[in-house]
Point group: C2
């Protein structure tokens, strides 16, 4: 695969530490990576998250949240880059200092505005991925969520 | 595996859609799931994220951010629950309406305060996972990050 000037990669054995199960697909207006926004905007185009039928009942209660965290698999990305050159100008920065899709485990995370849920489909704004991207997880946004389970000792621990 | 009253699960084939590569380990004061906080706090105990040697150079530039998004693999979690009962009281809610570790792809996400980076180890506050949890990814926090690559057409699209 092509490298830009000064980019750096690592030789790796195939990934095999854990396996993911795709649970749906994301539908967006962007059919190629070059069309996508660099970062989703909360006033962006309406997108659909289509959940597989097995998991429809697992949505119960999510409709109460205005903001949802979405995890998805960036299946077109290379996974071996250590240093990347976002502007192709010979200047590089470490992979973990970027939100680039090229990373050892190409998982995208977005915080989206939830418009509505109907028949296992979430209508949302704020995504930035290619049409057809596999869905990995949905969670209430961290900031809006209060744990439902009883407190545990760690909850009151501070530095 | 034990179910609480009214919890619901789904029968699934083994996960095989994509494979993860662990890139390090997370060190926390909590040795069992029962000790952990339900949700990390930014003034919580200092924890360490130990990155595997292969990836040390990929940290270059991350030190400029005060807040880092951390993705990790909740390897003790069951993955087949559709409805869960956080208080074991017979009342249930859908898995996607919870931030419980039990989910089809048990990936935890936290936004942590970065104290310092030294020799491939990040010292942070704000985690809530068990000691030894496998690391999947590190990214600058979404809110603090400005894309470094040139704009693309999708960037200016609104609803």
């Amino acid at each position: 695969m092509d490298l830009r000037e000064n980019e750096q990669f690592v030789q790796l054995a195939p990934a095999s530490d854990a396996a993911l199960r795709f649970i749906g697909r994301i539908r967006t207006p962007w059919t190629t990576r070059e069309d996508c926004p660099r970062q989703g905007r909360i006033d962006g185009p309406e997108c659909r998250i289509e959940l597989d039928h097995d998991w429809h009942d697992a949505l119960d209660g999510l409709e109460a949240y205005q903001t949802v965290e979405v995890l998805y698999w960036l299946d077109q990305s290379r996974r071996d880059l250590i240093r990347q050159s976002p502007r192709s100008d010979g200047k590089t920065v470490g992979t973990f200092a970027l939100r680039s899709p090229a990373r050892p485990n190409p998982i995208g995370t977005s915080s989206v505005r939830l418009l509505r849920i109907a028949d296992g489909v979430l209508h949302v704004q704020g995504l930035d991925c290619v049409d057809g991207t596999p869905l990995i997880d949905l969670k209430p946004d961290r900031c809006a969520f209060t744990p439902k389970a009883p407190e545990q000792p760690g909850d009151s621990q501070t530095a």
